[in-house]
């Protein structure tokens, strides 16, 4: 059975939900070779075994952390050369997408980004033009490189006892030209990460101010959801930029997306349009986001959300 190379996306060894989904899919496609860069392998080991990795390539040193994208590409390219996998899978994060793109250039391969499905012949499903068109495409040159959108299928464990292989990165001089001086986390507290969340509650300018935005945070916490925001909110500094959903923010496709006081500009829709169920609360019936809503309340967020929270409390007692 040929190998499937999976680049693991994680925070200090805690695998993202996207990584678990990739491992699940990779088991259907071949023998799973996970590639782990950065610190935290001790934390990651149990999850890699639980989700069925046959081999774990543990990349030594901090080159892949100190220099964005390029050294990781070097590691993957060397592994492709040595092991001729059937396909390379990465999670379609900001960094993952760029790794996929550069790797395809280095290997002379084709690359597919934002796959939401992959069949046994490596034909990928993609949703384009805001989900209005479904495309099936495949890589026709070289080792296929595929960046997969999180939340595209469920993750399921299938325990294994992985063999661990250490890898010494040997980045080229041109791979270490850009250096990370500092990393700053802006995402708030213990809430789930946007990309991983099953439920996202997002707020817009209609909340009025940072205190008003607190209603969105309260609802998110009640539902165990991630908090999202429109650009109007991140520009105003009511919530960190990392939470921006949309064309130039994060693209999410949770089971439930609740939008409060967001008008639904095309740039916002680009990031949430493929959510499975969409709920909209807006005081203007003409707000374009209602066009996408499965359930909508035309009303003032400052009365509707507190009433919703009170009702949820009442139902749970």
């Amino acid at each position: 059975m040929s190998a499937v190379l999976v680049l693991i996306d994680h925070h200090d060894g805690v695998l993202s939900k996207g990584s678990l989904e990739l491992l699940t899919k990779a088991r259907e496609l071949g023998e799973v070779s996970a590639v782990f860069c950065g610190a935290g392998i001790e934390v990651a080991r149990p999850a890699l075994a639980e989700y069925g990795a046959a081999t774990v390539f543990v990349v030594e040193g901090d080159a892949t952390d100190r220099h964005p994208v390029a050294p990781t590409v070097g590691v993957l390219a060397a592994l492709v050369e040595a092991h001729a996998p059937a396909v390379v899978l990465v999670v379609a994060t900001i960094e993952g997408r760029e790794v996929a793109g550069r790797l395809a250039v280095r290997l002379g391969s084709g690359v597919i980004t934002d796959a939401v499905g992959i069949d046994a012949d490596l034909v990928c499903d993609q949703q384009v033009f805001g989900g209005s068109t479904l495309v099936r495409s495949r890589v026709k040159r070289g080792t296929p490189v595929i960046a997969v959108r999180p939340n595209s299928w469920p993750a399921a464990p299938s325990p294994s006892t992985p063999a661990e292989v250490t890898v010494q990165p040997a980045p080229a001089a041109s791979d270490v030209l850009a250096t990370v001086v500092e990393r700053v986390r802006e995402a708030a507290g213990d809430r789930p990460d946007l990309a991983d969340a099953t439920i996202v509650v997002s707020g817009g300018r209609g909340l009025g101010n940072a205190e008003g935005f607190g209603l969105v945070e309260a609802l998110a916490d009640r539902l165990g959801a991630a908090v999202g925001a429109s650009r109007a909110v991140t520009d105003a500094g009511w919530y960190p930029h990392a939470a921006q959903v949309g064309q130039t923010g994060r693209t999410v496709s949770p089971s439930l997306y609740v939008a409060v006081g967001i008008s639904g500009a095309i740039q916002h829709r680009a990031g949430m349009q493929t959510s499975k169920t969409i709920v909209v609360v807006n005081k203007d019936r003409e707000a374009p986001l209602f066009e996408l809503a499965d359930f909508g309340i035309v009303g003032d967020a400052h009365t509707v959300i507190p009433a919703l929270l009170a009702e949820l409390d009442r139902l749970s007692t």
Partner: protein
């Protein structure tokens, strides 16, 4: 925001901005039944929104650097892409290069980065600035691919660019915040919309644009291998495209005082509340 320091060491720079013409984002997009490619003739074509921010950043850099610093815009695309290049000239770019050739039709992102890299071999550059994403392809990969091809520093997804002499520092947007990333020129930079507020071309700019150098390049002039370009040279192929079923109309109602309670009932019925 752009900050420039260290006045003594301010050598003039050559900045090239890669811009793309895309269908208007509000227009309905569809694939041509014939070859499953984006029907570009059906929609109005505009300058990719984020590329306006890239042009703006280059102009601010030029203004603060002063002297001989140049801004050239480069675009690959069919004949009507010339309009988009003119728009960037009217914003204030000093020269335009249009890469146009029948052999480019159907080129994918890998091929686009190859063609742009070949074209960049014909112009000196210290910094190449791009948008971080095109609204039609939405792949967000061309800037990283271009850095790979050129073998220069990749400083992408910048929400802030600071230039000090020949050292460039950016705030790179990450999935949970940002990273401060630094490199020496030359570099490939891509920008997100938080970076600045693009200017509108004024009448003077529109008139001046008509007199600016405008170079048209064909594939033979940049020494690009045709086999890596066009539909035949693409690394991927679309095997099937179907229209997604239209979303069924939602249940939208006015808040008559029961809105919150009805919303709670909806969430419970759908199993979203535990």
């Amino acid at each position: 925001m752009l900050l420039v320091g260290n006045i003594e060491r301010m050598e003039p720079l050559s900045i090239v901005v890669c811009i793309k013409q895309v269908p208007d984002s509000w227009a309905e997009k569809s694939l041509r039944p014939r070859d499953l490619r984006l029907d570009r003739d059906a929609a109005d074509a505009v300058l990719n929104e984020l590329d306006e921010y890239a042009v703006e950043e280059a102009l601010r850099l030029q203004e603060s650097r002063g002297g001989e610093t140049t801004v050239t815009v480069l675009s690959m695309g069919p004949a009507r892409t010339a309009e988009t290049l003119r728009k960037a000239l009217s914003m204030g770019a000093g020269a335009a290069i249009h890469l146009v050739d029948d052999g480019l039709e159907g080129t994918d992102a890998v091929g686009t980065s190859y063609a742009l890299a070949q074209a960049l071999a014909t112009v000196p550059y210290d910094m190449v600035i791009l948008g971080s994403e095109s609204t039609d392809a939405r792949m967000s990969v061309v800037p990283a691919m271009l850095a790979e091809r050129l073998g220069v520093a990749q400083l992408t997804h910048a929400r802030k660019v600071t230039l000090d002499g020949t050292t460039v520092t950016i705030e790179r947007v990450t999935d949970d915040g940002y990273a401060t990333v630094r490199a020496e020129l030359p570099a490939v930079v891509s920008v997100v919309e938080k970076i600045n507020e693009p200017r509108y071309p004024n009448f003077k700019g529109i008139m001046a644009a008509k007199k600016r150098p405008f170079t048209t390049l064909a594939l033979a002039e940049i020494g690009a291998e045709a086999a890596q370009l066009g539909l035949a040279g693409a690394g991927t192929e679309v095997v099937e495209a179907t229209k997604a079923p239209a979303r069924s109309a939602g249940d939208i109602s006015d808040d008559d005082g029961t809105g919150g309670a009805r919303l709670a009932a909806f969430l419970v019925a759908k199993g979203f509340v535990s």
